[in-house]
């Protein structure tokens, strides 16, 4: 068989179509204008430094009396969880009868240079948890951590188990040394002290460059070839632009927290060896005795499933469940399939506990 059979005439036609589509697509683009995201109505209920704690509003009354606090990662922005009406984890959780709150970390600036993990976890998160405990008059709340926010949530639950009723983690790294973890592999020889001492806060663009280089041929090239085919469909194009905006909207990272996160988690993998100390407190996952729901994505190129599933053997909880999603790190929030399955599953799991 001749493996390649492209006729010159066809090729020329294809290239002509490509150019025309591109030119026309630019028109559709201009019609889109400003792409909005973060669609569910919400109310600010607490603020500290750059942090804002939001309460999401729903037409229906929450059936679960225990409030649910979502802790997002420091990397990228939390509107990923509420991109648009039909693709919103938060909307889905509200529909599932949960009373949803979210921590928005904001954009750290030079004044946040010395924020460390103790400030983030035992400071900010703990304050938000207390705000919700007081507001609802409950001893314990439900915690849902996303990606790095899940790692923080696990640490928090291990240090303050008396305040957490149920812990849910989504695409959350626990074991940073699985063989398929590319980010971790790259960072092993990087002198993080030199980097943070020199740069202070770590520019968001730098992280972005790193993330795109995990799959450069698809993420920097092929993806844009694909979008040209979408350009005559305004809705699809708008969705694409919304994702695009999110991907490149990367806050800088507070220097000290970044240093600790890279050294203790990526390099030292201390959560696995039980050597992690945050703010003078030992972090042992076996102190997590409350029910745990661990959700991971099977095709996650950022947090490999193995990195998440390591939690099973580390937590002390007897009530540990896993939910596996056939998709990627981002798809787990935004795909139609995820929208239909993930939030109801979380709601159902929480209602039973």
């Amino acid at each position: 068989m001749n493996p390649i059979n492209i006729k010159p005439q066809d090729l020329l036609n294809e290239v002509r179509q490509f150019n025309e589509k591109f030119a026309k697509g630019v028109h559709s683009l201009m019609e889109i204008g400003v792409v909005s995201s973060g669609v569910t109505p919400r109310e600010e209920i607490y603020r500290d430094d750059q942090l804002v704690l939001y309460h999401y509003q729903s037409l229906r009354r929450a059936t679960n009396k225990t409030p649910l606090l979502i802790v997002y990662a420091l990397v990228n922005r939390p509107y990923m969880a509420d991109l648009q009406e039909s693709r919103s984890l938060i909307r889905g959780l509200l529909d599932a009868g949960q009373d949803v709150y979210l921590i928005d970390w904001g954009y750290p600036d030079e004044s946040d240079r010395y924020l460390d993990l103790d400030d983030y976890i035992n400071g900010y998160i703990d304050d938000c948890v207390d705000v919700l405990r007081n507001r609802h008059g409950v001893e314990k709340i439900n915690l849902l951590g996303i990606c790095q926010g899940g790692t923080f949530s696990a640490c928090y639950s291990a240090m303050h188990p008396e305040k957490i009723r149920n812990l849910t983690t989504m695409v959350t790294p626990i074991d940073f040394h699985t063989k398929d973890n590319m980010l971790s592999h790259w960072v092993q020889n990087v002198d993080v002290d030199l980097l943070v001492d020199t740069r202070g806060n770590i520019p968001g663009d730098m992280l972005n460059w790193t993330f795109l280089n995990l799959k450069p041929y698809s993420l920097m090239g092929q993806k844009y070839l694909g979008v040209i085919d979408l350009m005559d469909d305004p809705d699809a194009l708008e969705n694409f632009m919304r994702m695009e905006k999110w991907i490149f909207d990367s806050p800088d990272q507070a220097g000290e927290a970044y240093r600790q996160f890279i050294k203790d988690f990526f390099q030292g993998n201390k959560l696995m060896s039980d050597d992690l100390v945050i703010g003078g407190m030992q972090v042992k996952l076996k102190n997590i005795l409350m029910p745990v729901l661990n959700i991971y994505a099977e095709q996650d190129h950022l947090v490999p499933p193995g990195a998440s599933r390591a939690m099973k053997k580390k937590v002390g909880s007897k009530d540990y469940s896993e939910l596996s999603f056939p998709g990627g790190h981002i798809g787990i929030y935004v795909s139609g399939k995820a929208q239909k399955t993930i939030p109801p599953a979380i709601g159902d799991w929480l209602d039973k506990r």
Partner: protein, 434 residues
């Protein structure tokens, strides 16, 4: 001039579509005319942009330039990324088309000779790098180059701010990449200058910076060599995969997708190799080291000019963070105290009147908790805690790291509170009370 109901953008966009149509019509005509005789690239004088080395991506770029500057920022960024991809796609299409027009080879032969050419390009590049020339990646489809370019752009942005300029050490900028004999000579001159007199310290720092720069150049070269190796492997993999195809590839888009799949796979293995971990780490570390040395030089200048430096700013940020932590502790203590006060007041109003009177006339004494219930606190320490105003279990329970440290200093007992876990004990007791 844009009329009221048609924007400049729409007009130029329509013009773009029209020009494109003409452009491609021209190509189609040309191809039909040449289908018997030979290569349509042979004589191109009446086709616009045809004087360029690569007319397809070239024309694309020209249209793009005509129209892009009017865009709003986020859309502009997106369009730039899309057009970068478009160019690399067209470059591939053009290379393939050139090779396929005007000869009777089968597509497979064309692809193979084309892959050979690309492989030779990578090999040539690697050879140049290894013999000391720190040259850029050859233009192949523009894609691998784009990956290197995004790194280089970030690095260049940093380098522009470098603390040394040519006026101080003539030839410095050309010495940055000392691959040519002349630059190397210049570099040695800078490094060999005896450091002495008034500017001695600065000169030493400059020499150190130059040394670090050379190191960065070496690291960049090593990274490129590893990258070239990956390029060669990806071509080999493409040849192998082509032989294993079940269905022939019959479109340019199919070929492009095939190319992406194979490359992503080869790259994935490369990126997980020990080799990559080392060259990547060296590249990042050596660049950051350059910036650090440069900052240091810059700080001297700023200090001399009485301007704030990064060190100054960091001192302020560090202090600010301490104050924030103290504030947080104080807030917690305040909340604990006011809750306690509310409780007391409530109890007070609920007491029978005579009891209330008695208290009102009597001496008001602040309630003191028995802190010796905490393991590690004896009567003496308790007395000293009272002196510090720490009288309630809640106060201990609400203490943060910073306050603990300070209290340990006051008590002259470094590490004692943490070691004996007073805070934890206090918390546990409060919970028991509840």
């Amino acid at each position: 001039m844009a009329s009221s109901n048609t924007s400049w953008f729409e007009q130029s966009g329509q013009a773009w579509v029209k020009t494109q149509q003409d452009y491609w019509q021209n190509w189609l005509r040309r191809m039909q005319a040449n289908s018997m005789t030979g290569n349509p690239f042979a004589s191109l004088s009446e086709v616009p942009f045809s004087g360029m080395n690569q007319p397809w991506p070239g024309a694309f770029e020209q249209w793009w330039q005509m129209f892009s500057p009017n865009e709003a920022e986020p859309i502009k960024d997106f369009m730039r990324r899309t057009s970068d991809m478009g160019k690399s796609y067209l470059r591939m299409a053009e290379a393939f088309y050139k090779a396929s027009s005007g000869n009777n080879d089968t597509s497979e032969e064309i692809v193979n000779s084309w892959l050979d050419m690309v492989q030779a390009g990578f090999k040539q590049w690697r050879k140049q790098l290894k013999s000391g020339f720190n040259v850029d990646m050859p233009e192949i489809f523009g894609f691998e180059r784009m990956m290197m370019k995004s790194w280089q752009e970030a690095a260049d942005a940093m380098m522009r701010g470098l603390a040394i300029q040519d006026w101080e050490f003539p030839g410095f900028s050309s010495a940055m990449f000392p691959e040519t004999g002349k630059a190397r000579e210049q570099l040695n001159k800078i490094l060999g200058m005896p450091a002495m007199g008034y500017g001695r310290e600065r000169q030493e720092k400059v020499q150190r910076l130059v040394e670090l720069f050379v190191k960065y150049g070496e690291a960049l070269k090593a990274y490129k060599i590893a990258f070239a190796g990956m390029g060669i492997r990806s071509i080999k993999a493409m040849k192998k995969k082509l032989g294993e195809l079940q269905q022939p590839i019959d479109s340019m888009r199919g070929l492009y997708d095939f190319w992406v799949d194979v490359n992503e796979d080869v790259y994935g293995k490369f990126a997980m190799s020990d080799e990559y971990r080392v060259v990547y780490g060296d590249l990042v570390n050596s660049l950051v080291a350059v910036q650090q040395a440069s900052n240091e030089l810059m700080e001297d200048v700023y200090q001399a000019m009485n301007l704030p430096t990064r060190t100054d700013l960091e001192a302020v940020s560090r202090r600010l963070q301490q104050v924030r932590r103290e504030n947080r502790q104080l807030r917690k203590q305040l909340t604990a105290l006011s809750e306690r006060l509310n409780k007391l007041e409530k109890a007070e109003t609920e007491k029978p009147p005579e009891a209330r009177r008695q208290t009102a006339s009597g001496k008001v004494s602040m309630q003191k908790d028995d802190l010796t219930r905490i393991k590690g606190i004896g009567p003496k320490i308790q007395e000293r805690l009272y002196e510090q105003g720490i009288t309630a279990m809640e106060q201990l329970a609400a203490m943060g790291q910073q306050s603990v440290k300070e209290l340990e200093e006051v008590l002259n007992a470094t590490g004692k509170i943490t070691r004996e876990q007073w805070i934890k004990q206090a918390k546990a007791m409060l919970e028991d009370n509840d």
